[in-house]
Amino acid sequence: MTTPIAKQSSIKTNLAHRYREFALIARDPVLLVGLLLAVLFILTFVFFPIGKVILRAFADDNEAFNIEYFLRYFDPYFSRYLWRSLLSTMTLGIATATLGTTLGFVFAYTVVRCNPPGKRWVHILALIPIVSPPFAIAMATILLFGRNGLITAKFFGWEFTQGMNDIYGMDGLVFVQTITFFSVSYLMLRAMLERLNPAMEEAAHSLGASKFYIFRTITLPLLIPGLAASFLLLFVESLADLGNPLLISGNVDVLSAQIFLAVAGEFDYQKASTLAIMLLIPTLLVFVVQRYYVSRRSYVSVTGKPASGQILVKEPVTRWTFIAITYAVLALILTLYLSIIVGSFSKVWGIDYTPTLEHWKMMLNRGNEAIMDTTFLSIMATPIAVLLGMMVAFLVVRKNFSGKDGLDFGSNLGAAVPGTILGIGFILSFVVSPWLLVWALYITMSLFFVRTLFNTPKEQLSILLGGSVLVGLFWYSQEFLGEIGTMYLLGGLYMALAAYFFFMRGDKRSGKLLAGLGFYLMMSDLVLYISYPIASLSRQIDSSFWSDAVFQLSDYIQVLFRVPQTILMIPYLFMGMVALDKVRGKERPLLSILFLGIGGALAFVGNPLAMVGTAFIIIFAFTVRSMPASVRAGVASLQQIDPAIEEASNSLGANAEYTFRKVTLPLITPALLAGLIFAFTRHMTSLSAIIFLVSPRWRIVTASILSEWEQGGVSLAAAYASSLILLVLLAIGLMYIVTTRILKGRSDADLSLGA
């Protein structure tokens, strides 16, 4: 019997538990910092932008409450069109998910059960669509089967007239998306099939069941959770896809393309946000169903090792049917990619197929900047995504705390929401300073700062007040000093503190650390003395390629020293705490106020977090999109490491840091590398999330391909796409060499880890 009193006390003990858990984490400072970083990142770059989009749908340009665009769904003038496009979006999703899952299953079954000749190559080729730009297949399909297509027009001599059923429209779109997304399904189902315990099928066989009966009653039911998961994932991918619909949807309107046009064509953010909500609802629904329902119904643990001794299909008709379908699809895929490459070397596609280098030359001329920018930004975002991902994975696998599920959910959400929505969210959030967010970040960090350093509420409050007053002073001083002056002032103060620590306290390590911090702040302006000469050097170079390259370099150097100050505040406050660690006595509160004031002031310098048009908004968008894959790769690899191995190191006298360096890190290195490759390729090929974020200063290849294509430069777009594919393959090849040679093949970094 639960009396109200008992219930109350159970809530109380419950809260006490949560607090005790938190206190346990707090005792482990590295862990606490990790948790804080992950939470702040997810809050800033996932929840805040998505929240912005949702709110924007309910407000007009003057920020008054307005649901005009929702009402249009019930207004006879608009409703037919709106509902029809909603319906076609869902139709597309369901068709793609069904066909893609079917094809994925055929591939998985062929590879796992039918032992096809050249199995390794089948596997590798099936993965190409994952690492290629999102609209490559649509491009190739139009090149081959379009109105001027090599096959349709050239071989068959068809002439397309108005009203004829051409490749544009729903059928073409479904075809293109099926080929684009089936790889994901293949990977999931292959993993499941490999982990099915053959004993179950053998048991059924020994009970007298026929092969087909076994398949129907054992194999298929066991795979249903996997099939469902694949279906849902493909459904979401199809809905979120922007590149393919833009190219090939013809008269059919789908939500993602409509959102794009609402922003890029009409600049109507309220309309775009409303449509975004219509797209967000099914996406999130599927995400939640997948997470909390389907994945828990699974009979097969995907984290386990593949079962040894797979059952192979020996019966030739079935076996060769599967193999034949697989080969045929692979041949189609190869033809499609080949057509892009051939297209990039053809004079005028559809009319004059004479080989020429003209488009590649043109691309190196015009697209040089885009290719270099994309590569640079992708490289910058890669370590952030992987480190954050590994950190979240570590917290999720190895630590117990409330809200763990929330952390996992949040970190996955970034890639689960359609990229267009995230892109709009980024624009809405960071076009002007999001003061609410800046304040939230400052308050969280300052509370963390005082709570970690001081024990009594009185001390905590006075430090908090003192520091905040100082922050206010610095903020006010910007009126006179301007942004650059303030940065010099803050940097100078860190230098002064460094001198104090170095000479007066004799703490050389902290002194050097603080000097570095101060120098970095000053470099935000001083860097111009490096980048200007480089830029002027570039003007003296004749070759436009090299001239561009050198000029870009000057930009990239600046980026390194111009991390948004609000973001800088977080590590700067942490570093301040490190320096304060050994300070005792009267200086401790005084120095704490200084560190909190100077570090905290960073959050408010200039136009904080107004990042639209800068490199960082793209870098963070990349990071949000690829982090979940790193989390999954990290979780998978950490789960395979027996915690006792770390404990063994600990019990042999090694502390946590040594254990991580000598035991954990070497063991997760393969996953780390796989995460790096995957993150990089994901960055290079992403389109939907960053298409709104590109600026004249920061160009992205995928966006350039799209605009070239729209302007009719078919072959030029093909050249871009080919070079992008080439770059990605190069990166993968490089990583492959690293993993197999340097790590002596200890573990092969499988791309499937990331998917």
């Binding site: 809530i11 419950n14 538990h17 858990e21 191995i645 404990e647 063994a648 006298g653 090694a654 070497p666």
Partner: protein, 360 residues
């Protein structure tokens, strides 16, 4: 005492609002230098949690742990001067045998030469000389176990902790390794705490056995004490096999008890507690403490319900009245095997019978 646990309690927060789970409940334990003590109990009895608290992987919620006179309640594992052998061996898969064994010494920044000598010596001790450059996945289970042992021993720890170290080995190897562990432990006279759920392992290897159940200690004693004089029904049942026959106390003198049970008057050994005349008492009768069809002095009649020939012994289930008694006769070569459903007579070997303390 060298290592002492005083009223050590460990509670884990329950999952989402459930009550706290008490894994270890007021455990008090004193371990002398050079002694090998086994924590024995069914899974979930708190033995591993107790070991992990000694190692420092968990901190006690209440109570104190002292090592060599110093309190070590909150000391992290790497500062405790103990090393642990894990159930899963936990061998570093990316290091060779040599690197595994040398790991702790490298952490301690010992000179290379000394490390080399000590590794060689330790590998010799566990009979793995010549395996230095093997990778862990090239070793058999028993060899991996030896590496894990060597890796812990080389630290010359104050206390060696072993968490079910043999449970992943097959039966033959297990027997061999447990003798090996005992030999090495005796040779270097290292204080050891050994966790197992296998009572045979505990009996053969230990100086003293600690029987745990539901987080509490049921009994501490030498293997002989535990087997001969179990303090509770749980202990009697967990160590070896036992029939429990209830009787009534008729008299109590000099540690001998006169009881009536199964309508017979017998004199049995008793614990040091006080037994009151007329109260009920449980008598522990081990399967080997009965004789079938004795030449004289049979106590009760019964019917064989099951007879299993195991080679070295014959096992019987004999029904006496309402109760089914398990019985073992050894060396069947010289005995008749009694077929099922035949009538037999049973004689209790009075000297061996033992009455549980009155609280049971």
């Amino acid at each position: 005492m060298y290592l002492t646990l005083t009223d050590v309690t460990k509670t884990f927060p329950g999952r989402s609002g459930d009550n706290d789970v008490t894994a270890v409940d007021k455990v008090t334990l004193n371990i002398a230098k050079g002694e090998l003590v086994t924590l024995l109990g069914p899974s979930g009895c708190g033995k591993t949690t107790t070991l992990r608290m000694i190692a420092g992987f968990e901190f006690p919620s209440e109570g104190d742990i002292h090592l060599d006179g110093k309190e070590i309640n909150k000391l992290p594992p790497h500062k405790r001067d103990m090393s642990m052998v894990f159930q899963s061996y936990a061998i570093f898969p990316h290091l060779t045998v040599y690197e595994n064994v040398a790991y702790g010494l490298k952490v301690a920044r010992l000179p290379k030469k000394e490390i080399k000598e000590r590794v060689a010596k330790t590998l010799e001790l566990v009979e793995l000389s010549g395996y230095e450059n093997r990778a862990p996945n090239q070793l058999s289970g028993g060899q991996q176990q030896r590496v894990a042992l060597a890796r812990a021993l080389i630290m010359e720890p104050k206390v060696l902790l072993m968490d079910e170290p043999l449970s992943n080995l097959d039966a033959k190897l297990r027997e061999q390794m447990r003798n090996e562990i005992r030999r090495i432990q005796q040779m270097i006279n290292i204080t050891s705490v050994y966790v197992t759920h296998d009572q045979v392992e505990a009996m053969t290897i230990s100086d003293r056995v600690v029987i745990m159940n539901e987080g509490r200690i049921e009994q501490i004693g030498t293997p002989i004490e535990i087997y001969r004089h179990p303090k509770s029904r749980f202990v009697a049942d967990f160590i070896g096999r036992a029939n429990f026959i209830s009787g009534v106390v008729q008299g109590w003198k000099d540690g001998r008890l006169t009881v009536t049970f199964m309508d017979r008057l017998l004199v049995v050994a008793a614990a040091e507690d006080e037994y009151k005349t007329g109260t009920a008492v449980t008598i522990v009768v081990r399967p080997e403490m009965m004789q079938l069809n004795p030449a004289d002095g049979a106590h009760v009649d019964g019917i064989v319900r099951r007879a299993s020939y195991l080679g070295d012994v014959v096992e019987y289930d004999v029904q006496v009245g309402e109760q089914l008694l398990s019985l073992v006769e050894s060396d069947p070569r010289h005995l008749d095997i009694h077929p099922e459903e035949t009538a037999v007579q049973i004689k209790f070997l009075e000297d061996c019978l033992y009455a549980l303390p009155p609280s049971n």
